[in-house]
């Protein structure tokens, strides 16, 4: 069975939590005891408030909104799903970025009474920026507009204009009512004019992320295994995850940033030697030469070596209440590599409604900016649109330890969505 990870996004009160609740409920994924707890809570309509299945924090229930990302799980006979329920509030956009970073597909919810609004554009563009290429437009609350086909088609057309404009793949538009369950799991008679699949049917049949078999091989050392026992006095294994592509025994490899070369003597999976390994497998590599390699180093077949650089250009989503100003020094964590970094220049700010560029001399919470970054040590990186794993990094405040930004590495002048759509690269799962 395969796995699909998706995010739900949309404005506050578009009914995201209700939609997830409905998916879980109608697919028989809610236990009776959990349901009983919900039924004990009074609701305005006298029905079970399915949104409470996801709003798990006290403050969320008090305010009736989703504050933080929640993860929910359900399985049908055809597929296993991980739902990332991201908040819609503007001030929690960083959580939306968090959710999108781990998703293969985005469900963008729109209230049929409101149509495409600012947040629809914002969330679509943020999800697209994070590399999602698979969109579902869920036109919700159709019960409140009399299940009107014209309204649905108008909204679908408005959204198609948006995705066309930004050269995004077309979304699959589905009319539904999360509150009443129309077209969420089961197709609804009240939407007889709609001949497409229900939301769940679509989620079950849409292609899941496949390994980037053709993406360049990438591997970073997480941990060096050196037992130094009587049996294994000289064993030295480099433990890590294949980030993309394939590795083969006998591959000639380069260690970055040192540039030393060696050959893969063995690839071990659970102490068994294998001939090849593929992302996202966790493996141990052994090399023929005793070279100096530590955590954070990349081991890469010589014919696929990426750019090694101390100067990056990147799109950064700023996630801290303390602004980013030019000249600021931070830590840059590129998977297992952590290096000191400085941001000498903020090139421009990105308007996430229009993707227009504007001058900026600082970045505030939730801003998306284009920056230049200098690192103390060279890094082996790829462009994010070519590799969602090795093109990603986070920025960390050295003093507080907080994650203050999500970064996407991109070549200078690369337009946001004009680059060819890269094959989906598997991240950790």
């Amino acid at each position: 069975m395969d796995l699909l990870r998706f995010i739900t996004c949309g404005s506050v009160d578009d009914g995201k939590s209700t939609l997830i609740g409905r998916l879980l409920y109608d697919s028989d994924s809610v236990s009776l005891d959990v349901l009983a707890a919900l039924e004990n809570r009074p609701t305005v309509q006298g029905t079970v408030d399915l949104a409470l299945l996801t709003d798990g924090l006290r403050a969320e229930r008090e305010q009736g909104i989703t504050i933080d990302v929640a993860y929910k799980y359900f399985t049908t006979p055809r597929r296993k799903f991980i739902i990332t329920d991201a908040p819609g509030h503007v001030q929690y956009t960083r959580n939306m970025v968090t959710g999108a970073s781990n998703a293969d597909l985005a469900i963008v919810l729109v209230d049929a009474r409101q149509g495409v609004v600012e947040q629809t554009r914002r969330h679509t563009l943020v999800a697209a920026l994070l590399g999602i290429r698979n969109f579902v437009l869920a036109v919700n609350k159709l019960d409140l507009v009399g299940f009107d086909q014209n309204i649905f088609e108008q909204i679908a057309a408005d959204y198609a204009a948006l995705t066309d404009h930004f050269q995004l793949p077309a979304a699959t538009a589905i009319p539904l009512s999360a509150l009443h369950g129309d077209n969420v799991v089961k197709r609804s008679n009240r939407l007889s004019w709609y001949t497409g699949p229900s939301l769940l049917e679509h989620l079950e049949s849409v292609p899941a992320a496949v390994e980037a078999a053709n993406a360049a091989p990438r591997f970073q050392v997480q941990y060096v295994i050196r037992p130094q026992t009587a049996d294994l006095p000289d064993y030295r294994g480099y433990a890590g995850q294949i980030q993309s592509g394939h590795y083969r025994r006998g591959d000639r490899v380069k260690v970055l940033p040192s540039g030393l070369e060696s050959t893969i003597e063995a690839i071990e999976v659970n102490q068994q030697e294998v001939e090849t390994a593929t992302a996202p497998q966790a493996v141990v590599l052994r090399l023929t030469d005793d070279v100096d390699i530590s955590r954070g180093d990349a081991i890469i077949p010589v014919e696929h070596v990426p750019t090694l650089t101390r100067e990056l250009e990147a799109t950064v989503c700023w996630m801290s209440e303390q602004p980013l100003w030019p000249g600021r020094k931070l830590l840059l964590q590129h998977h297992s590599a952590v290096v000191k970094a400085a941001i000498p220049a903020i090139l421009h700010k990105v308007n996430v409604q229009t993707f227009a560029r504007a001058a900026a001399d600082s970045a505030q919470l939730n801003d998306i900016v284009r920056v230049r970054i200098k690192t103390a040590v060279p890094l082996a990186v790829d462009n994010y649109h070519e590799n969602r794993v090795t093109g990603a990094f986070i920025l960390v405040d050295e003093q507080s330890g907080d994650t203050v930004a999500a970064g996407l590495i991109g070549a200078a002048n690369a337009d946001y969505f004009t680059a060819p759509v890269a094959p989906p690269v598997a991240f950790s799962i």
Binding site: L32, Y73, H334, A392, V396, A406, F427
Partner: protein
């Protein structure tokens, strides 16, 4: 070359191994919290896959409430010996004496909330900067909100509103002195995933997970609690002998059994596929105290 097709269990496993290795790479003094239950047993198997032929870069730490099932303690010691890894045991009993805590009273005196005190003591004693646990997000709604790397302050407190964003599979374990990180490598697994993994990996478990005859007291909720010397029973209490198994292995004073004939992992998976009640709902007596019971305990340092 043809694209590999990985099963979802392969993906969950790869993710968990990646997380364990990040712990080893990022922290000075990590620990693996080991209760002898199925989730922490699965963690030890994942740690073998992550670190063999080397040793685990952390000890196993058990917070013994004194109300454990004897079968589980025997299993714990045997597994630690087989793995050849260090096992640290600290007891709630000692903490109660040292900190002059009040023993829980009542008919079913659960020491579950007191575990937090012992856990914080053992973290301080060994200066652990990361504690790996087997919690899963499908267990409970507050857990569904928790990050895989969950930063706790020097009092072990979780602040759900101040969680770090967790992006891609890049885990940030940077902390100040005195703080620690709770790490949950199997966050994305469900109860069924754990059992399917146990089946696939042929992992042995304490006997109490399988159907067996046990003398139990029938609770007002209808749940069955195994008889032990810790319970304060009245004459009216109904004592029965039933064929039961445990879905989760917490304290004997707060973990109910479910009626079951399941004698193999396959039987248990079949049971689960038909189960209409969640793991915690079926078995825990202490989560339902209030709607935010788990959130409140986690805020106070509960694992």
């Amino acid at each position: 070359m043809s694209a590999h097709s990985f099963d979802y269990l392969d993906r969950l496993e790869a993710e968990a191994i990646h997380i364990l290795r990040e712990v080893a790479g990022q922290f000075e003094r990590p620990a693996l919290l080991f209760s002898g239950g199925k989730d922490s047993i699965v963690l030890t198997r994942l740690a073998e896959k992550a670190f063999r032929p080397g040793r685990f870069p952390f000890p196993l730490v058990h917070v013994d409430t004194g109300h454990n099932f004897p079968e589980v303690l025997a299993y714990r010691d045997q597994l630690a010996a087989e793995l050849g890894e260090k096992l640290i045991v600290r007891s709630v009993e000692d903490t109660i004496k040292r900190q002059r805590l009040r023993e829980p009273g009542g008919k079913f005196p659960s020491r579950n909330p007191l575990q937090t005190y012992t856990l914080l003591e053992v973290i301080e004693e060994f200066e652990f900067d990361a504690c790996i646990g087997g919690a899963r997000r499908d267990e409970e709604k507050a857990r569904a909100k928790e990050r895989i790397f969950s930063v706790r302050d020097e009092f072990g407190q979780w602040d759900p509103k101040r969680q770090r964003p967790e992006l891609w599979n890049v885990y940030n374990g940077r902390i100040q002195k005195g703080e620690n990180v709770r790490v949950f490598p199997i966050s994305n697994w469900t109860e069924l995933d754990v059992w399917r993994y146990i089946q696939r990996e042929n992992i042995s478990l304490p006997d109490i997970y399988f159907g067996h005859e046990r003398t139990c007291v029938v609770l007002p909720s209808g749940q069955l609690l195994g008889l032990s010397e810790h319970l304060q029973l009245d004459e009216e209490d109904e004592i029965v002998t039933r064929q039961v198994r445990f879905r989760t292995v917490g304290d004997s004073t707060c973990t109910a059994a479910v009626e079951s004939d399941a004698s193999t992992v396959e039987d248990i998976i079949q049971d689960l596929l038909l189960a209409k009640v969640s793991e915690r709902g079926a078995t825990r007596l202490d989560d339902n105290i209030s709607e935010a019971g788990m959130e409140d305990r986690k805020r106070n340092g509960y694992f």
